[in-house]
Point group: C2
Chain length 289, copies 2
């Protein structure tokens, strides 16, 4: 499996740290990453990092494209267009290979972007105009999954309210998001459902599952440091004077849920939808010109 | 005493909540404040709230001007100019009154802005281009005090590093800040100095005082909710699943220090510098034209 994810959002929303946490190691340190860095717009750059993970015995070659500088400037008009152009270019390369006479579709790597994690700043008010414009444009091009970065700045109540507000705004603005396939028993495990973080409580013993859609946008916390947990383990977390956050604690954030949905449960669906829907749209539009 | 403070910074940096915390009551609830709201630029609005506080027996009539919408848009070019224009207009009104034949300088209120609290988003990277442009422009017009909003998103180490980075950037960009007068014994109390939050520890028993300049930018946390403290009191704070922040705990942030410097220690100096330096500069420039 080769999964390509692009991570987009304002500077300082915790994207680099999240990427590190996803890899379970500090391969990627953001600004001086060993990955390939190149300009895709006047001020926008992308940084690519590749790593191979083994998820429950399945080897996943994960490529993450980070877009530092997005939303950073005084005037951010059209910065999302560079990102859309980057995604289109990957479709174009694939198309050219498909159309070439002597083609070798098995032997080469699929560089198309299978998923776009859009990081929303935890400002408590809702989506910003930049977020709305960017997600609107991206939603028609790639599987967009909205994420609240640095979610440890929100209390459980604020997190629940913020998620509801964002879901409303996403709907009101007609933003197309990745549609998570219907849940089966394995998708979201019990201790994640009962997380207080999402305002849910054990529904008695009927094991009632909370749909993934009520978790969106996923609240994530990332960390490149290890802390001592209460039960004596070492876990990725953030140590504050008033307490310690553990990123893999479902009461603290949805990191574990998101990681599993991306790298295990919906890995193939993300690739299928990209191929059957987004790439097809690109082909139709391309030949239609 | 009548102190006028303008609070500037990106949306979601915690300005309204900070204002509430300063008042020790929920007089001001940000967007639907009973204060006077009016447009000062195409997209920029100001909201004014007035309240009378009693600080150690001294009555202070505090007026806070909030600038919601600042830094909120896709294109924020020149939004700070509306703020500078607002400040200039207050100098202009004062000048007109000073120059009028039948004047009554005792009987009316001084609406000039004595202090500008500039809220920096705790993004961990440093100042944004918007912050640099805005503070550069504001620094020559009014007493600017930089503040890190929502500082509970930073660990003690990150906070210390972030402050150092910001101080360097402020200096490198030649940004003029309010110069705190030399400290005397009363200015910063011991328990605030020894705060781990600022990377300081008790210097033995010599009671060595840490200068205010090493606290800048002040890290603030605001709250409009009360929480139960460990010693059974009710205090303003934020309750997370991993612990409870108390805004008046010097190990958690500089809220208490900032509040005291603004409303007690340097209250008259802020007003004096505004009158003797900033207002004089305005007069000179005005007559020079
Ligand atoms: N509170 C909090 N801070 C974080 C989190 N993730 C990263 N940070 C900090 O936020 C700052 C910016 O993080 P970074 O990952 O570089 O953000 P990016 O600009 O979006 O790539 C750094 O100081 C990080 O240590 C998080 O989940 N919670
Ligand atoms: N973590 C944290 N959140 C805060 C703090 N102050 C306010 N907030 C939350 O941040 C959001 C925006 O706060 P607000 O005061 O309206 O920000 P403003 O837009 O700058 O006026 C709200 O959800 C607040 O509850 C703080 O000190 N720390």
């Amino acid at each position: 499996f080769a999964l390509n994810i692009i991570v987009v959002g304002e500077t300082g929303t915790g994207k680099s740290t999240f990427i590190n946490s996803l890899f379970s190691s500090d391969i990627y340190d953001g600004k001086d990453s060993p990955g390939i860095s190149n300009r895709i717009g006047q001020t926008i750059q992308v940084e690519k990092t590749r790593v191979t993970l083994v998820e429950k015995g399945v080897q996943v070659r994960l490529t993450i494209v980070d877009v530092p500088g997005f939303g950073h400037y005084v005037d951010n008009s059209n910065t999302w267009e560079s990102v859309v152009a980057y995604i289109d270019k990957r479709y174009h390369e694939y198309l050219e290979r498909e159309m070439s006479i002597k083609r070798d579709l098995e032997g080469y790597s699929d560089d198309r972007i299978h998923c776009c994690l859009y990081f929303i700043a935890p400002n408590g008010h809702g989506l910003r105009p930049l977020d709305i414009q960017a997600m609107k444009a991206l939603g028609t091009k790639v599987n967009v999954i909205p994420v609240i970065g640095r979610a440890d700045t929100l209390t459980s109540d604020e997190c629940k309210e913020f998620k509801e507000k964002i879901r409303r705004e996403l709907k009101d603005n007609g933003i197309k998001l990745y549609d998570f396939p219907a849940e089966n028993e394995n998708d979201v495990e019990d201790e994640e459902h009962d997380s207080k973080r999402n305002g849910r409580h054990k529904d008695g013993e009927d094991g009632k599952k909370t749909p993934v859609n009520s978790l969106i946008p996923f609240s994530v916390i990332g960390s490149s440091t290890f802390v001592d947990t209460r039960d004596g383990r070492k876990a990725r977390g953030r140590k504050y004077p008033w307490g310690t956050v553990e990123i893999d604690n479902p009461d603290h954030c949805d990191f574990v849920v998101l990681r599993r949905l991306l790298l295990r449960v919906h890995l193939s669906d993300l690739m299928d939808v990209t191929n059957d829907v987004h790439y097809e749209n690109y082909r139709v539009e391309y030949f239609g010109k």
